[in-house]
Subunit: 220 residues, 2 copies
Amino acid sequence: MASDHTRSAILAAAERLYADRGFGDVTLRDIVAEANVNLAAVNYHFGSKDELIAELFVTRSIATNRERLRELKAAEEQGGGRAPIEVILHALVGPTLRGCLGPENQRSTAARFMIRASIESVPPIRRIKNREIDHLRKFAGAMRRALPERSDVDIYWGLNFALAMAHHTIRESERLTKLSEGKCDLDDVEDVVARVVSVATMALTAGKAETKAPSRVAAR
Amino acid sequence: MASDHTRSAILAAAERLYADRGFGDVTLRDIVAEANVNLAAVNYHFGSKDELIAELFVTRSIATNRERLRELKAAEEQGGGRAPIEVILHALVGPTLRGCLGPENQRSTAARFMIRASIESVPPIRRIKNREIDHLRKFAGAMRRALPERSDVDIYWGLNFALAMAHHTIRESERLTKLSEGKCDLDDVEDVVARVVSVATMALTAGKAETKAPSRVAAR
DNA sequence: TTGCAATTCAAACAGTTGTATGAAACTATC
DNA sequence: GATAGTTTCATACAACTGTTTGAATTGCAA
């Protein structure tokens, strides 16, 4: 129904501008200029600026989440309902990292947009992220099945740390490159994934699985 | 010189409001109302809104950085120029975590402000964060001395992951609490510090220190 | 072609924002 | 106590924001 041309021109232009310049200083007027459409078109097709941003972000994140679950489900089916922890973690952080890292010049607009979204955190996006908990619970469940002897607390901490390493590496990829003077190669995505998975696996499997980790470091 | 009263009233009010409601929807008019001063006072004392935000953030982060370096220096002196890696990591993430976590009702305004700053990331703050690299290099140096057999790449990745776990835990503390249904106790700060240090230590010491980690996970 | 709905457009609206101004009030020095 | 310098104040400014409006245009069905 209808031409849809204006709608997708707006989406494309908005994603491009947000990816390049951030949410902070891109106005509706910038977007419609880039898309060569009228100012009122945004409100006509999307209702409001926030709903435009939300639609962009939802589209991209359900794509990532679907990819994650696809990997997870495949792994669990292959293992008869139980997948190795490394594979679960790989399914958790792989799609995100693969979507956001890689050689900059061939990085898609979608990827750069998602990086922005993870750096700037604007209200409509934050609202959507808060609904991501159900999705994460599925991974917590799979991890529990993979490591039945492990306490829930340890599982959640492991999940938290895995996401931490993936997201922080994306957010601060520029700084890490500068800090390491280029020695850390952020373009070798599979190496990054392997590092994150490896550390997260250690976090989840090492030690005696004490319910409460004792402070191993002298406080002074 | 001068009473300074207005100046500090603005700083206090701004920090409180930003901590509570975020940078996005706190205007100069909100701040001066809370501080019971005139609108023009902000520009008179600070030059601009951005400079006010910058001053708030700089004050807090040099305090944290000083605390970090104090711990680091003490540890290296005690060890004759070489400190155990756990202690170095403890000095790196301890002050930040201690400053931003802990029981919410007794969490200082400064702490809540720094959490906001790490979540929202507004331009003047981002500019300052980019100058933090020199500070991090000091820790990279100490880590290299502690683990001379380790490659630079591994050192930087370890540093990156340590910061990742600390910052992400602060940023997403609310979500982690909700996800784990309260099982992860974010108020027990020293436990959190111990967990982060423990995992980061494993990341830096485990394995054969291959220059390039092989992909341990089947890609499919 | 006619009629009707969907879409586009130019223009204006209403609100908010950070900042600038110039006069008034204060404070301390001589 | 007059004076010079600092600080406060009410007010206005200028620009920008997302959104709305109502008329013009388009596309399609009868």
